[in-house]
């Protein structure tokens, strides 16, 4: 990560000295990374096995289906991946429930007025009307957008997928138009989700010059203090003031759950 791309003075200068910028903070715990991994792999599988049905007339779709072992096998893989995605979603909701019971749920994903301000600020920055990017909180507005888009997307895709898996049962429970909604919702939401992931999400986490070729946080769960300062300035400031308050104490030990305020961690050399 190059800070030269930032173009501006570093934030929170005074206190930055307190921390080695190369030290790392725990951002996502193992559960979150597993949820992301399951979601990402099932999503990609679903896209490649579902796509041929949309572009069925093209020769390459037919070769793709052959590659998976024929239409029947492709349909089976699609279903298995769909179940994995549903499992990832249930895992996540159960995990949130667990955090809530342990009173560790921070609601940091809920959108708030600061996100609207950040959006405007970021656009101003893009247009050169503002020198610095806004100081983003733990989750930036575009990360929140991703999260809620996936939330809505998974609900739609799993629901409509089930309607389409059992069209005969669907019509014996609901009127036929419910299946029709499911049919189109499944195909069209799939297109929307694929575009959103491959254009938007991949840009934000892979192609953006500041982080190219990619941000490793989805694998390691960790981020350097320097990155945190640039990408989540508000959270960094918060962390710093918290540190200041608990100055005499030693930094929290490794393995702090991510929903808790991230604490610096002695894993300096671990970053790939």
């Amino acid at each position: 990560m190059s800070s030269s791309a930032h173009g501006g003075a570093p934030t929170g200068q005074g206190r930055a000295a307190a921390l080695d910028p190369k030290r790392e903070v725990q951002r996502f715990d193992l559960h979150q990374r597993l949820q992301h991994g399951l979601m990402a792999s099932s999503f990609i599988t679903l896209v490649v096995t579902g796509w041929p049905l949309t572009t069925h007339g093209i020769g390459s779709s037919q070769s793709l289906v052959e590659l998976f072992g024929g239409m029947e096998a492709t349909a089976l893989i699609h279903r298995v991946a769909g179940v994995c995605m549903a499992v990832a979603a249930i895992y996540h909701v159960a995990y949130l429930g667990y955090l809530a019971r342990a009173r560790r749920l921070r609601f940091s994903m809920l959108p708030g007025p600061k996100d609207a301000a950040d959006l405007v600020g970021n656009l101003m920055y893009f247009l050169g009307r503002q020198k610095h990017r806004p100081k983003f909180p733990r989750y930036t507005y575009f990360e929140k957008f991703d999260y809620w888009a996936v939330f809505w997307g998974v609900a739609i895709m799993v629901g409509s997928g089930l309607l389409r898996w059992y069209p005969d049962a669907t019509t014996s429970i609901f009127p036929p138009f419910v299946y029709e909604i499911g049919l189109h919702a499944h195909a069209d939401e799939a297109l929307l989700a694929s575009l959103a992931i491959f254009v938007w999400h991949f840009y934000n986490v892979h192609l953006r010059p500041q982080i190219f070729p990619m941000s490793w946080v989805f694998i390691t769960g960790r981020m350097t203090v320097e990155e945190l300062k640039e990408e989540h300035g508000a959270e960094y400031d918060e962390m710093m003031s918290e540190l200041e308050r608990s100055r005499p104490k030693t930094p929290a030990p490794a393995g702090v759950p991510a929903e808790a305020p991230p604490a610096p961690e002695d894993a300096g050399g671990a970053k790939p």
């Binding site: 173009g7 779709s61 029947e72 247009l127 050169g128 036929p176 138009f177 029709e180 909604i181």
Partner: protein
């Protein structure tokens, strides 16, 4: 299939400069010309073969060609008119390449089982008879159907009942179709008919679908029959059509739902349920309506219409906004990098 040019002087060059055919023709034409040609206007298709007089096919003519014939074909000294090789001397088309012909369903049949009026050659085009089937320019559709019928039905009494095949649904008040399909419309060139069980299911369905679609997608024909030509497109977009396109072995073709020689009345709830029920265990009469071919228009399927509109706009607007965000981000990043480069350059003072 290539139609050979009419008899006459212009006929020989058009045989494609085949020395064999020309040689045989000149010898044959001059000798028995006119003797037994039974395809004249007055001859009935049932006329018994009388051209035995024409004599056996000269052995040398065949041998010169290396044309050895097959076990299934009677030896040349039997009735030459039962010998396909006679006919193939001139009708030397790809169809009748012995190997190809022998893989078709009619491999046991000789030409004259169907072309009963052709006694000796060159023959005049028959006035009308089974042999004219569908090629005679002057024949009306009704005559062609009658001819095809008289040709094929006698051997296919099991598949084709006495009262004929019933294509389409009789509706009170609706006149019968002007131009219903003939055997050929659905089975193709009779010389190329394959046994359906010799084809893998996907290919068999695709092949028959193509025939149904060729006619049901023909706007003029469908208009004349009071039907709509939207069916092929609707089937093509359906999950069934897509899966068949991608090689799905269980995906139904037109025939799996509509039946073959007797169009099923799928509007009858019981028939519909039984038909879909073959593959979808819990089919209900409501379910059957998912399989019809109504397009996704406001009038025909309003719910689909609005769902598609909703998702269309949602996708367009979302992706537009996201792309703008990405583009602006790229723009700013490029400017920052360029500015950084410029800052690096100036103090360095390369110039």
């Amino acid at each position: 299939m290539r139609v050979l040019p009419p008899t006459g002087p212009g006929f020989f060059p058009l045989l494609g400069g085949k020395p064999r055919a020309t040689l045989i023709l000149t010898t044959l034409l001059l000798a028995p010309f006119g003797t037994g040609h039974a395809s004249g206007p007055a001859s009935a298709p049932t006329t018994a073969p009388t051209a035995g007089k024409a004599g056996p096919l000269p052995d040398g003519a065949l041998a010169a060609d290396g044309f050895t014939g097959s076990e299934k074909i009677a030896p040349p000294d039997a009735d030459p008119l039962r010998d396909a090789r006679w006919c193939r001397l001139c009708h030397d088309d790809d169809h009748f390449e012995s190997s190809a012909w022998r893989t078709t369903a009619h491999t046991e049949q000789v030409c004259r089982d169907c072309h009963s009026g052709y006694h000796f050659n060159p023959h005049l085009p028959a006035e009308l008879g089974p042999e004219a089937a569908t090629t005679n320019e002057g024949a009306t559709p009704a005559k062609r159907r009658a001819a095809a019928w008289a040709t094929c039905q006698p051997c296919h009494k099991d598949a084709v009942p006495e009262e004929g095949i019933r294509h389409g649904l009789p509706e009170p008040g609706k006149p019968a179709a002007e131009n219903p399909p003939t055997c050929r419309d659905c089975h193709g060139d009779p010389h190329e008919v394959l046994l359906s069980k010799s084809l893998p299911p996907v290919e068999r369905r695709r092949k028959m679908n193509d025939r149904c679609v060729a006619c049901h997608g023909d706007a003029e024909r469908m208009k004349a029959a009071g039907l709509d030509d939207h069916v092929p497109a609707a089937y093509g977009h359906s999950v069934h059509g897509r899966k068949l396109d991608l090689g799905g072995e269980r995906a139904p073709g037109c025939v799996d739902c509509h039946g073959s020689h007797e169009t099923k009345d799928l509007k009858d709830p019981e028939v519909g349920r039984a038909t879909c029920g073959e593959c979808h265990e819990h089919a209900t009469p409501d379910f059957v309506t998912l399989g019809d071919h109504r397009p996704f228009t406001l009038e025909a399927r309003p719910v689909s219409f609005f769902t598609l509109k909703f998702f269309g706009w949602l996708t367009f607007l979302t992706i537009f906004a996201l792309s703008m965000h990405v583009l602006l981000d790229v723009y700013r990043s490029v400017r920052v990098i360029m500015a950084a480069n410029r800052n690096d350059d100036t103090p360095g003072g390369h110039a």
